[in-house]
Amino acid sequence: MMLGNWFESPPEWLNLAIQRLGEPVVITIAGIFGLLVVSTILVKLLKMIKPGINLDEVSQRISSWWLMAGVFTFAMVVDRAVSIFFFAFISFLALKEFFSLIPTRRADRRVLFWAYLSIPLQYYWVYIEWYGVFIIFIPVYMFLLLPTRMVMIGETEGFHRSAGTIHWGMMLTIYCISHTAFLLVLKRNDLEQGATAPGAGYVLFLVVLTQLNDVCQFLWGKSLGKRKIIPKVSPGKTWAGFLGGVGSTTLLAWWAGPHLVGFSPNQSIVAGLIISIAGFIGDVNISAVKRDLDVKDSGSTIPGHGGILDRIDSLTYTAPLFFHFVYDTFTFHTFGSAGPLAP
């Protein structure tokens, strides 16, 4: 009875959220928490049925998922600036983890500082929707600027390794991840004024499918996996996991795409394929780095998962590729290459 009332006249905050984000986004967020409730109950049940079974890591993982989903939802719901700040903070944590993981030179302390400084700038371009600078700032300007600063310091031993690794880390952790934030501020030309901005839907579609793809690949691999797909880099990855993940993620994309992001069924399938295949590559890319450096996890920030990089490894590949797909599918109005300075 109570619940029925609740559905008939939703509380004020829910109405506001639906108005700002659109109903599909709010339903998807509810779906995420529904999934978490189900998996939490499942683990509890499993423990009751088989008392001997060791599910500590799984429980820890799920409670970390609760926290991550909570923070993510908060960041998405509150306000546009908060959402952009959230992704900037993720970039910061990931870059810090990367710099702590790789060999660095003492002489490069100031160069690393500049690398950090590019995070607020890159996300500022997102905030003011200056697409033209957003898309080249790190690949061109920081790429040219960092070696300039290094030359000014003058330490040549290990120069090219340093220039390469620092910029590579920035591309993955700042540039690639910031595409998620830019999806948020996209405004479609063909929607009438005052229509709910589709950005939150894109972000949710990308982030949820990327993370679910990781989980699906893991589950398919655990249950059916035999033939290793890339044993030298990541011995745990199997063909069954990869293909199972691609299948489930694409199916989910096909089902959710038309509602959440306004794709046609065919476009949804392509988006699903992009996310699942790119997600796999992003994952093994970071695996290769970790194997090179002889560490199991990139850090220990998220209990049960490892570091931030372990969690966003797939997103580093899916974010830019999905962004380009969306950007070319619809027409958007941003400042484009002319920028806010143009008359």
Binding site: E97, P103, R110, G158, D294
Partner: protein
């Protein structure tokens, strides 16, 4: 009033820097003492070391944390002196003691009697960043006099990269802290110093740190 300022400084400045801008990975946290008297000994790379160690404890323990610091360095000018004594709550250590009658460690013994948690860097100074220097034997004197007070070794890595000696620019790096087992006094100074070095080396070996040259 002073304690209020101290809480404010740690809650609003030190903790956000240590836990968010830098970020701490603490291994074997359960080996830290819950209450004093206890002595934490750690390697010394950076001015931030002491702040990091003080963040290992909950804010409500702040009142009992007493870092040992060189008097000659921290009494250079009135403001630094005020800050060191009132905000950091240091136990000043006079490094030039040869001629005096009283033990230079008297302040530390007093703190032990007040059940405080003492933080000490047996290397004496920060030295070369991220390199383990020789330990001075003052800590062995304390262990001899108070064999029942736990002396817990901590190995830290990362702060020497974030803020080494002679630099003013903070560059974020993750900080690793490894907490070891309490050291036991077995009746001999050299033995004690050896077991301290051994523990530190063993704790350092737990981490797998990338080169930093």
């Amino acid at each position: 009033m002073n304690h209020f300022l101290r809480m404010l400084f740690f809650a609003l400045i030190v903790r956000p820097i240590m836990l968010v801008i830098l970020g701490m990975n603490v291994r074997q946290r359960e080996k830290l003492p819950d209450s004093g008297p206890a002595i934490l000994v750690a390697n010394h790379n950076s001015h931030l070391d002491v702040l990091a160690l003080m963040c290992l404890f909950p804010l409500k323990r702040l009142r009992t944390l007493r870092p040992v610091a060189a008097q000659d360095y921290f009494f250079r000018n009135p403001f630094i002196k005020w800050f060191a004594l009132r905000i950091m709550g240091i136990l000043p250590l006079d490094r030039e003691v040869k001629k005096k009658r009283t033990s230079p460690l008297a302040g530390i013994y007093g703190a032990i009697e007040r059940n405080e948690i003492i933080i000490l860097f047996p290397e004496g100074s920060r030295g070369e960043p991220e390199e383990l220097g020789r330990f001075k034997t003052g800590i062995a004197h304390i262990a001899k006099k108070h064999p029942d007070v736990p002396i817990i070794p901590c190995f830290m890595h990362g702060l020497g990269k974030a803020l080494p000696k002679g630099e003013a620019l903070l560059v974020p790096f993750f900080l690793d802290v490894f907490v070891g087992d309490p050291l036991v006094w077995e009746g001999e100074k050299s033995k004690f110093m050896e077991s301290l070095s051994c523990q530190m080396t063993a704790l350092a070996a737990q981490g797998d740190f990338p080169p930093w040259e």
